[in-house]
């Protein structure tokens, strides 16, 4: 037995194991994937919001995909404050110009990027939002400034359908 010869039986053993493993994976994947968002959840992809009643300095909160979205009509003071911030002072550097294309309107997911709570409006050390769960402070552009949250509040895909209506998603 100096040389181990591959026998017919070795081939059958390897082939059976390989086919069995592929078969098992093919059965396991549907069991795992069934937990992902289903077609009916994905169908609720966009929502239209009438913002005509919103006056400067106020925030409208709407539900999109089960999550709150903040639509804030910012005052000139808030815009100036957000734009005056230096990039090096930010934990997650993003220009306010990139977050709010129309400076008057800030649209973002009202979900703290730490563990998903809804931050409170007009609170915190930076006049923006404050998360009551674990104490994250956001500025008037929804950028994280202090606390455990790692990122700025997310800006979803949105557009103005007309002067009074925003389509989110």
């Amino acid at each position: 037995m100096s040389e181990k010869k591959t026998k017919r039986r070795d081939f059958l053993f390897t082939a059976t194991t390989a086919v069995g493993a592929v078969g098992a994976a093919a059965v396991v994947w549907p069991m795992i994937d069934q937990m992902n968002p289903d077609a009916s959840v994905k169908a609720l992809a966009s929502t239209e919001v009438d913002v005509s009643s919103l006056s400067p300095g106020n925030t409208l909160t709407v539900l999109w995909r089960g999550k709150p979205v903040f639509i804030r009509r910012r005052t000139q003071g808030e815009i100036d404050e957000a734009r005056a911030v230096k990039m090096e002072d930010l934990i997650h550097p993003e220009k306010d110009e990139d977050r709010a294309k129309d400076p008057e309107w800030l649209v973002m997911l009202g979900v703290c990027t730490h563990l998903g709570c809804v931050p409170l409006n007009d609170k915190g050390d930076y006049n923006g939002w404050f998360c009551p769960c674990h104490g994250s402070h956001y500025d008037t552009s929804g950028r994280i400034r202090k606390g455990p949250a790692p990122w700025n509040m997310e800006v979803p895909k949105y557009e103005f359908v007309n002067a009074n209506t925003i389509k989110i998603g």
Partner: protein, 420 residues
């Protein structure tokens, strides 16, 4: 009496036992030789079995009335409380039963820590116990989500979001756990399924836990190996059965106090408000039994590291048998360990307290010191102590210190032989 020698007296019993040796098993369980010096801290195994069965029975009956749907769950729980015959009683037993379960399991765990029950040859019993504890936390968390109140919803949101701390795949995992883009109906139905499944997994693990226990036999307050059966043991029935039974009765008095006089004191008032994805309650706290770990999570200012610290705090227990380098089991003979043990108990209680407080100012500072000490205890103090500590002389048998009345072995042995 060896298990293999057992033979039922009746002909029918013999016929049955030859085909399925259940009677041999029953005989093993009743005759099982138990150290005769077990104190009341050893009665919590039996109490925990009672807790598990109580949760399964009350849970099954609640499931006959509960509706796992985001639009109906909250109302169906109120329906159980107001309309279902004795629904209030069954639900209060189930809800407070979870707290009683954790109360008992913490006593059980800290008993192991004091008497060194996790050490060789009982590492597998200990690790099975830690897995049971993890499953208990999962079951308790998912059960708390089912009433679909504000704390249910936001507790579920915060805990599932812990997985988003994982780099790259975190967000995908959270979406997968939710079955959507937020905690919603698909989350509720799968939590209900898993909440139903886990107790039976725990039951299976409890069987293994007891099986593994019956191989080396019980540890005991003196922490020495004993011959079994011998003068140092008594049969499980009736001696331990009656002692466990008495302790269980005392425990049930405490249990009944909560169920009948303070059924909501361990809960949170916000959970009687229906879940609202638009508003987070001002102050989110988990149930009391998770508070120490919650304090550890919040004491770390980084998201990923906070989650890692919290998980490590639990998983570090699984490797405890190898972190503790001392050969002596019982803290009775370890004067230094005994002191560090009580400091650890205080440390965990402090963590629990600051976990319930807002994470700011002095509370945050205390949480950070207590978190650091928790890891220091397991990673530095325990390994070093095994080499540095001067332990007290241990007796040769359980009987010896009682009959000898002194740690002097020669005198004790002499006296023992005279009595014989």
């Amino acid at each position: 009496m060896s298990d293999h020698d057992y033979r039922p007296k009746s002909k029918v019993g013999q016929w049955f036992n030859d085909r399925l040796p259940l009677l041999t098993l029953a005989n093993h369980l009743t005759d099982y030789p138990t150290p005769k010096n077990l104190n009341y801290w050893w009665t919590f195994g039996g109490i925990l079995t009672f807790c598990l069965i109580t949760q399964i029975v009350t849970g099954l009956t609640l499931a006959m009335h509960y509706i796992a749907h985001a639009d109906m769950a909250f109302e169906s729980v109120e329906h159980i409380m107001r309309d279902v015959n004795y629904g209030w009683l069954i639900r209060y037993i189930h809800a407070n039963g979870a707290s009683m379960f954790f109360l008992a399991v913490y006593i059980h765990i800290f008993r192991s820590l004091f008497y060194g029950s996790y050490k060789s040859p009982r590492e597998i019993i200990w690790i099975l116990g830690i897995i049971i504890y993890l499953l208990m936390m999962a079951a308790a968390f998912m059960g708390y989500v089912l009433p679909w109140g504000q704390m249910s919803f936001w507790g579920a949101t915060v805990i599932t979001n812990l997985f988003s701390a994982i780099p790259l795949v975190g967000e995908g995992i959270v979406t997968w756990l939710w079955g959507g883009y937020s905690v919603d109906n698909p989350t509720l139905t799968r939590f209900f399924t898993l909440h139903y499944l886990i107790p039976f997994l725990i039951l299976g693990l409890v069987v293994l836990h007891i099986w593994a226990l019956h191989v080396p036999g019980n540890n005991n307050p003196v922490g020495i190996d004993i011959k079994k059966p011998s003068k140092d043991t008594v049969p499980f029935h009736p001696y331990i059965v009656i002692k466990d039974g008495f302790a269980l009765l005392m425990f049930m008095i405490v249990f009944a106090f909560f169920v009948f006089y303070a059924p909501n004191i361990l809960g949170h008032a916000d959970n009687y408000i229906e879940a609202n994805p638009m508003v987070t309650p001002a102050h989110i706290v988990p149930e009391w039994y998770l508070l120490p770990f919650y304090a550890i999570l919040r004491s770390v200012p980084d998201k990923l590291l906070g989650v890692v610290a919290m998980l490590s705090a639990i998983l570090i227990l699984a490797v405890l048998p190898w972190l503790d380098t001392s050969k002596i089991r019982s803290a009775v003979f370890r004067p230094l360990y005994k002191q560090f043990y009580w400091i650890l108990v205080a440390d965990v209680l402090i963590l629990g307290y600051v976990g319930a407080m807002p994470a700011e100012g002095l509370y945050l500072l205390i949480a950070r010191v207590a978190t650091a000490y928790y890891f220091l205890h397991f990673l530095v103090i325990l390994p070093v102590l095994g080499f540095k500590e001067k332990t007290l002389p241990i007796p040769l048998s359980i009987t010896e210190p009682v009959l000898g009345g002194s740690p002097n072995l020669a005198v004790a042995r002499n006296k023992e032989s005279k009595i014989e």
